[in-house]
Homo-oligomer: 336 residues x 4
Amino acid sequence: MYVVLKPDLDPEAQNRFIDELKNAHLEVVALPGLDRRAFALVGPPHAAERFASHPYVEELIRDEAPYKRVARALHPHDTLVSIGSLTVGGDAFVVIGGPCAVETPEQMQTIASQIRAAGAHGLRGGAYKPRSSPYSFQGHGIQGLVMLSDAGSRYGLPVVSEIMDAQDLPHLAAHVQALQVGARNMQNFSLLKTVGSQTLPVILKRGLSATLEELLLAAEYIVNAGNDQVILCERGIRTFETATRNTLDLNAVAWLKNKTHLPVLVDPSHGTGLAELVPPLSKAALAVGADGLLIEVHPDPTHAWSDGRQSLTPEAFSRLMRELRSLAEVIGRHMP
Amino acid sequence: MYVVLKPDLDPEAQNRFIDELKNAHLEVVALPGLDRRAFALVGPPHAAERFASHPYVEELIRDEAPYKRVARALHPHDTLVSIGSLTVGGDAFVVIGGPCAVETPEQMQTIASQIRAAGAHGLRGGAYKPRSSPYSFQGHGIQGLVMLSDAGSRYGLPVVSEIMDAQDLPHLAAHVQALQVGARNMQNFSLLKTVGSQTLPVILKRGLSATLEELLLAAEYIVNAGNDQVILCERGIRTFETATRNTLDLNAVAWLKNKTHLPVLVDPSHGTGLAELVPPLSKAALAVGADGLLIEVHPDPTHAWSDGRQSLTPEAFSRLMRELRSLAEVIGRHMP
Amino acid sequence: MYVVLKPDLDPEAQNRFIDELKNAHLEVVALPGLDRRAFALVGPPHAAERFASHPYVEELIRDEAPYKRVARALHPHDTLVSIGSLTVGGDAFVVIGGPCAVETPEQMQTIASQIRAAGAHGLRGGAYKPRSSPYSFQGHGIQGLVMLSDAGSRYGLPVVSEIMDAQDLPHLAAHVQALQVGARNMQNFSLLKTVGSQTLPVILKRGLSATLEELLLAAEYIVNAGNDQVILCERGIRTFETATRNTLDLNAVAWLKNKTHLPVLVDPSHGTGLAELVPPLSKAALAVGADGLLIEVHPDPTHAWSDGRQSLTPEAFSRLMRELRSLAEVIGRHMP
Amino acid sequence: MYVVLKPDLDPEAQNRFIDELKNAHLEVVALPGLDRRAFALVGPPHAAERFASHPYVEELIRDEAPYKRVARALHPHDTLVSIGSLTVGGDAFVVIGGPCAVETPEQMQTIASQIRAAGAHGLRGGAYKPRSSPYSFQGHGIQGLVMLSDAGSRYGLPVVSEIMDAQDLPHLAAHVQALQVGARNMQNFSLLKTVGSQTLPVILKRGLSATLEELLLAAEYIVNAGNDQVILCERGIRTFETATRNTLDLNAVAWLKNKTHLPVLVDPSHGTGLAELVPPLSKAALAVGADGLLIEVHPDPTHAWSDGRQSLTPEAFSRLMRELRSLAEVIGRHMP
């Protein structure tokens, strides 16, 4: 529920009206930066309904699931998000590479060195791993964060890692330049509020069966909690098709770029599950208008501790980077 | 990865072998209660692979995503779960009713009184509400838990409520007899470990696009953390169909009853999203072999603060309970 | 597009108005049996739009995809469909059994004899088989129809078989009492018009990813072409779940029984793909309000030429029939 | 089932063996052009199984649903398909434009003239329209074909139109240079055999919920019936997402290009359902490796008789063609 006040209302009258709303057990959330005098009303719908014909009210919007703070309609300019020295959004196209899981210090140094040489802009690696089975490798935790940040700082790459639990935030904050919220936690609303209440940028991955509206509302949770440094990431949805691990939804990227001012990345590794499909889908993501890529790279994919089937070798990654650079130029995108 | 040891291995040899595994950077998880000498090996697959032809090893099982502790194959007898004085599982068929959200003390008293009169076995109500939009009503929190437990204890109904955040556990533990993990948190592995480390029974709802194997693995997380009082709940999956809110998957119930010893409930309210479909699907759930139902009931559905469209009136609920009782008798199920 | 005329319009004025519509390149389809003066308008939307404010028009309904002839709202009474001497619909609950494919005369005689003894009401068997691969067994064609009808007439069971091609209609008409349109042909609109222009009853199976509205519109094609003897059949939809062959959608049955006057069968064999799930889902189908079942039965499932994994043995079928009879009594359904 | 004969078998022995197979009620289908001595065996699996250890048999392949004639593994070179003077496949990238439905001669002339000026390579338009509702505009039939072919021949554009019924083949053959089999008929196996028994090239669209294996098997039906001039077309699949009409699956294009030698087109109009998403997804399709596009163009989309919401204006189409040309150059594709 949203209430839009009449345009010529004086501040005092407005305050009185807000008090009336609160007395009716409604929480009144200001939506700063909007042109109209709009407030979200949180509480029972029938309580709000009583104000529909109030003399101060221009319109009561009975929209069930709307996003406001992330809407391009209300904020036309692209949001730029800073991950360390890296800027995501605008006319830049950035590539963040790295292994699914942080395995060993040597592995991280090798990968960081190789993707840096290939021109990557950031380093990723999981220290806390969401795994379907409790018996699968769950990540090295804090030690993994150290391996990751050491490799990143040695090769001048800002690093990104996943947060699964609010408790781990201090450790992550000490070692990474951006937090990732994984697909399985996209509607873990407590975690969204947590990452919204701190200052690191957040890469929010689309849930396996989340609609685009739900993705934008999940981002709205983070922004509403105070953190506007949010990057969305399309990583494939779950469909009936079994030839690929997921179905990468590039419609989503074009649709999101129209509807929101937040940057949108694509993860073709999870989106396809097959290393040989990663290069063509990476090029498609650039062509469709994405702001960058998250790509899994491993020096020895067949011995990766997880997700080897979808990891590029450093050689394949390097070849892809060259192809992306020549494509970006024609598309009018800048690869730093 | 699982390793099954040769049957005639003496304990000392077994311990030596386990040390060898640990030296190879593998975590060795005992699976007590199993007939075979089986251990889960957590760590890089290639490390485990080296033991495939070890003289003590009968078999190395390269199963990627297997559940063990929840498998009926390994524990043929039905698990009985106690929610306060209520027993779920075995030949009982139980019905837990209540509103989507706890709204007011009066509402909870009214519903508890009416569903008790209709023969319900438990009371549900959300105090912490997962909502797609940050601007929707998020539940009354602790106050809601008090309203819920007051109504439950006055009418002799054990109560169930959803946990969204590990931080809220002390409050929930003080007021409810069972925790619910919602569909959106089915793969919030931190939360699964939390509810697995305490003693209240857990109702685990299937994720919107979770496969049945993933559901069983999520339950395995809870049991593996120490809590074997787990109840599964089918609540509809997300498909292309838009005539109903979700697609209730009753195949799942019959399949789960074959594969696991845990009780299985059905939530026809979320499974259909339409109050008029709740009674026929409730009867179908009983006929297909479910151990009980979670049903949304509201004295005034059109004014419910959430999910009114799928809530039964107390009258409709009472009528349904009578029909279920006569059906249960023919099916050979006992309704306490 | 539908136009509803004003109630007090005299026949002459009405005819003049219909001529006006035709002159505007609109085809005008009468919807007899409706209480309101409603006509479907076939043609370009903007042509119809011009008549929105015509003095004779009460309402122009811009509904994009509506069904009318099959709607219960317009025809409240259940349609009864006769397959030979068998009546489907009303308070009856009927079971049609038989093999996926007609294999040999002996097979058909054996099955017919056994399901008849178990109390089945009809016999099914495929003579024209839709197979994903051109190299799979495609059915015996006319010879298969002879085997099927011989077995049916010897044991007093009306027979049902699938039509894949309008060319085969004369052969089918000579041997079967009902035509089946398979899931893959649910939107083969030419075939729908063909079966709508003859007099045998039609069992229309829901497409693998057809919405319920599309299913009703496919039925509308048949009824609109002149044949109102249509039975719908839910046979499972395609979802992400792989534990079962399809996801049987029993929501669909309850929803359809509200929206249409046509009978609704359930096919739990294709709906689950697993013989052990067929009995529980059959009982659920009865409980949810279906008018009957299509069940695959084979004397030797492991040697069936197709779909053996989902076929019941005659013994299992017989056991199921006894359980259904005792259940039907409590539900208030009559099994002939 | 496939049987692979020993490599050194003399022709006489081979013939004797084939007779043996036939006597066992198996149909033996030669797969010419394959390197190995492989035959598909059509009939009951257990009949074939008996030959597993026959002295002439190298291997019996129990593959349930395999494609052979369309497999790149067996025919590494790209198939080139000729639509009139246009060649599809190889390093060419072609664009076929036109309205959803043929409406009037003027409309077709206007569109043909405009897309020709923009550099399109072919003209599309529906004369027989598959529509969910029997009351929607079903196409002009033969008259529509005349309007289409007149416009095509005047502007030197080969034309493509959909076949819905084998009966219409003579009319289509008289007016079009390629037949389209629509998504709803992808598993209308009778129609596949029909279009396989004539010589016009066939554009086969992926079914709404068809797996990629099913799509290749549908193509195998056509090729097996004698027509190897087959083009596949990805046009979006049905998923839970409702923000777009379908989910365009570009993973499918990259996967298909690896697995089959047939050309693959993309239809971003149906794949998105939204005109504003057509240009970005068209560029993505080029980048991912598609061999061309099918795009809906209408001079006045808001008054189109069908699918206006997803149709480009001629101006937008012209702009897109320019962007595609500059992109094709970098990608190494040739736009004639």
